[in-house]
């Protein structure tokens, strides 16, 4: 069960965008923005409030890679695997990060809720390939070594 505060927050967001089916995506985005993920219970709640079926809302939420029903870590690392980054070896970076953090294709977030590692299809910074972002901050021309250094730095930052 979610805390009542989640529903109050959802009510505010719904009121802002209006009780319309077309508000579904912006509402989901803002909820995700607030909690770093989209709690399933809230999706059900929003669907009912704006008059779309739960299955339809779930359909939209799963269609877009961006929405996540899993709580995400403090640092969200997105490794670009667009064409340019891919040919400049982004996958070894991803693999190095996953190995270091004990993550995999299925497990995106560390148990301590510190790191989430995902891939994106293109960050639009192909000239800086291979790139990755940490909470929207862009890191250009990455290598597996640089990525691991960054992790160490972020961990230290947290101590």
């Amino acid at each position: 069960m979610l805390d009542q505060s989640y529903y109050t927050k959802a009510d505010e967001i719904i009121a802002h965008y209006g009780r319309r089916a077309s508000s579904l995506i912006p509402i989901m985005q803002e909820i995700q923005e607030a909690y770093r993920y989209l709690p399933g219970e809230l999706l059900t709640y929003v669907a009912k409030e704006i008059g779309v079926t739960e299955a339809k809302a779930y359909s939209v939420a799963t269609f877009y890679e961006n929405f996540s029903f899993e709580p995400k870590g403090k640092y969200i690392i997105k490794v670009c695997d667009g064409t340019a980054c891919h040919v400049r070896k982004s996958i070894p970076i991803l693999e190095a990060l996953q190995k270091e953090l004990g993550l995999s294709k299925k497990k995106h977030t560390t148990d301590d809720m510190m790191f989430t590692v995902e891939t994106v299809s293109c960050l639009g910074a192909c000239g800086l390939a291979p790139t990755m972002t940490v909470n929207n901050e862009v890191h250009p021309s990455m290598t597996p070594e640089k990525a691991l250094e960054l992790i160490a730095e972020l961990r230290g930052d947290n101590v």
Binding site: A47, T53, A55, K56, S59, F63
Partner: protein, 562 residues
């Protein structure tokens, strides 16, 4: 209005919604998997793709007819496309055809035959997923789903529920309830329309045939069948008989031959329902209890109301459904040792409905803690059981139902079609039974296959507003109108499936508009040739109140709560 050239032949078209309809009306059976005229056009299966004179290919279901179009439906290129599409669909489909419940009725299987596909060149890369067997009525096998979306649209557009939806994207796309919940955890009402729309075996009826065969094989069990009205008009065509004609006599004969000890007509219990429900209505009217009175024969509707509009539970008739009443009466009749001769009684109800399988498990379908109906067999299953037994159905000599519950009035028979319950009730309210009176009742406004019908009649000087609706999306509109105070009714009859039980979720699928009309005509004809057309004049009902039902009317025929 205009002309188009289809495969070199000039074809006139009038108000067809799309090119596909023009092509089909011109006698070319273009295949489709996702096109149903009753729901929105989806354009996903691409099987109806045709080519025009400029070499452009397009899905004919999604193209508006234009004057002067030149269309090829069978060019070399189109044929190749069509075959490839089916091959690709098959590649991601569980192909255990011989053991699939849908075998023989499967659209995909038919297409594979039609396209002459003898080899599928592509590997199935989809992960094997578990079956959802949680529902009392339906089984969902995601491995047989071809993502045509027919069930999704049936559930949301016709039934206004939207339990099923697409999830994920691209090669990961699947049809499932939200959060991949089990059907039993959703607001699914077990109406089975998804199963009727599903072209493959991805959604099928949970069968109980084996249970029935076992009961029949047991010499210490008395197996009793009750046959619902809508079943008799949907079995014949499976055995080459005229579509829609009632084959009740043959059904009784075949059930006897299969080993059922007694066979009864649920129309008898429908008469009983009318007696109780009309009394209840008059009582409510007199006492000023909550109105409108909602009919309670349809379990899918009852669940819909309890889930979606629980504040109106009070308005639901407390009458059990005809199935429920009948089973309770049969069980009561055989309760004493002398009557049952030491035998166990097993009641099988043969129904056009999947939701009935759910209804028998409802706590309020039990009498004194005992389940009244032991198994529900849908029309689709009884056809299979008849085939299984090898008895030649079409040449059987018709037989009559057994006694003492073997006769239903014409009023009971029309329960299977939308408006039938209302008409039966109005007949009960009529003080005469001559043909002219019956004709007046028939013309009051309950008949016809519109989704929502409204009309008024006068009973002893009181004007009664009546609403008859079928399809749960229509039921939702009716409920919203009542809730907002826009409409005031005295009686509301709802059947969850469009057109009523004749199009129920357990009926043989793939019924076109001709079949729909034939089934409803079939029931009205069966009613027409019955001498007793009022429930209250059924002599068996009259005597039942003096015998089995004496002092037990409420216990056996009503529910205490929903």
């Amino acid at each position: 209005m205009g002309f188009m050239t289809i495969d070199g032949r000039k074809v006139e078209f009038t108000d067809e919604k799309n090119v596909l309809s023009v092509i089909r009306n011109a006698g070319i059976n273009l295949p489709t998997l996702c096109y149903h005229s009753e729901v929105s056009t989806f354009g996903a299966c691409r099987l109806c793709t045709v080519e025009d004179d400029r070499g452009r290919t397009f899905a004919s279901c999604s193209e508006v007819p234009r004057d002067g179009m030149v269309i090829y439906t069978n060019s070399g290129r189109i044929k190749k496309y069509r075959k490839l599409i089916v091959e690709l669909l098959l590649s991601a489909h569980c192909r255990d055809c011989t053991t699939c419940v849908k075998s023989g009725e499967c659209v995909l299987q038919d297409l594979a035959h039609r396209m002459n596909i003898t080899n599928v060149r592509f590997q199935n890369t989809r992960e094997l997923r578990p079956l959802d067997t949680s529902s009392a009525a339906l089984i969902r096998d995601p491995n047989k789903c071809i993502l045509c979306g027919d069930c999704v649209r049936a559930c949301s557009e016709i039934q206004g529920l939207g339990v099923l939806g697409f999830a994920f994207r691209g090669t990961d796309a699947m049809v499932m309830p939200a959060f991949d919940k089990k059907l039993s955890e959703t607001e699914c009402v077990s109406c089975g329309q998804c199963r009727v729309f599903c072209p493959t075996g991805a959604i099928s009826i949970k069968t109980h045939m084996d249970q029935v065969w076992d009961a029949i094989a047991d010499p210490n069990t008395r197996v009793i069948a009750q046959v619902a009205p809508a079943v008799r008009v949907a079995v014949g065509d499976a055995f080459g008989l005229t579509k829609g004609n009632s084959v009740m006599g043959k059904l009784v004969a075949v059930l006897h031959r299969m080993g059922f000890d007694e066979v009864y007509d649920t129309a008898f219990a429908a008469d009983l329902t009318i007696m109780e429900e009309s009394n209840e209505f008059l009582e409510r009217l007199g006492k000023g209890s909550p109105l409108p009175l909602f009919t309670s024969c349809c379990p899918a509707w009852v669940k819909f109301l309890c889930d979606q509009y629980p504040e109106y539970k009070e308005n639901l008739s407390t009458c059990r459904s005809p199935q429920g009443m009948f089973s309770a009466v049969i069980k009561e009749y055989y309760r004493g040792y002398e009557k049952n001769q030491g035998k166990k009684t097993f009641v099988v109800s043969i129904m056009p409905c999947t939701a009935k399988k759910m209804e028998i498990l409802r706590p309020n379908s039990f009498t004194n803690g005992q389940q009244d109906t032991d198994a529900v067999i849908t029309t689709t299953e009884i056809i299979r059981m008849i085939r299984n037994s090898g008895i030649e159905f079409s040449t059987l000599t018709p037989e009559a139902c057994d006694m003492p519950f073997g006769f239903g009035s014409g009023a009971g028979v029309i329960f299977g079609v939308t408006g039938g319950v209302t008409e039966a009730m109005l007949r009960r309210f009529a003080d005469k039974h001559d043909k002219a009176t019956m004709d007046t009742v028939a013309e009051a406004g309950a008949r016809g296959d519109e989704g929502i019908k409204e009309f008024s009649v006068t009973y002893k000087g009181i004007p009664l507003n009546i609403c008859v609706a079928s399809g749960l999306a229509n039921a939702r509109s009716v409920m919203e109108n009542i809730k907002s105070g826009k409409k005031h009714y005295h009686i509301v009859e709802i059947m969850a499936c469009r057109r009523g039980c004749i199009m129920g979720g357990g009926q043989p699928p793939r019924a076109g508009s001709r079949t729909k009309a034939a089934r409803s005509n079939g029931l009205y004809q069966a009613d027409n040739v019955t001498s007793i057309r009022k429930a209250d004049e059924n002599p068996l009902i009259v005597s039942l109140y003096d015998t089995v039902l004496k002092g037990k009317t409420h216990e056996l025929l009503h529910v205490d709560s929903y």
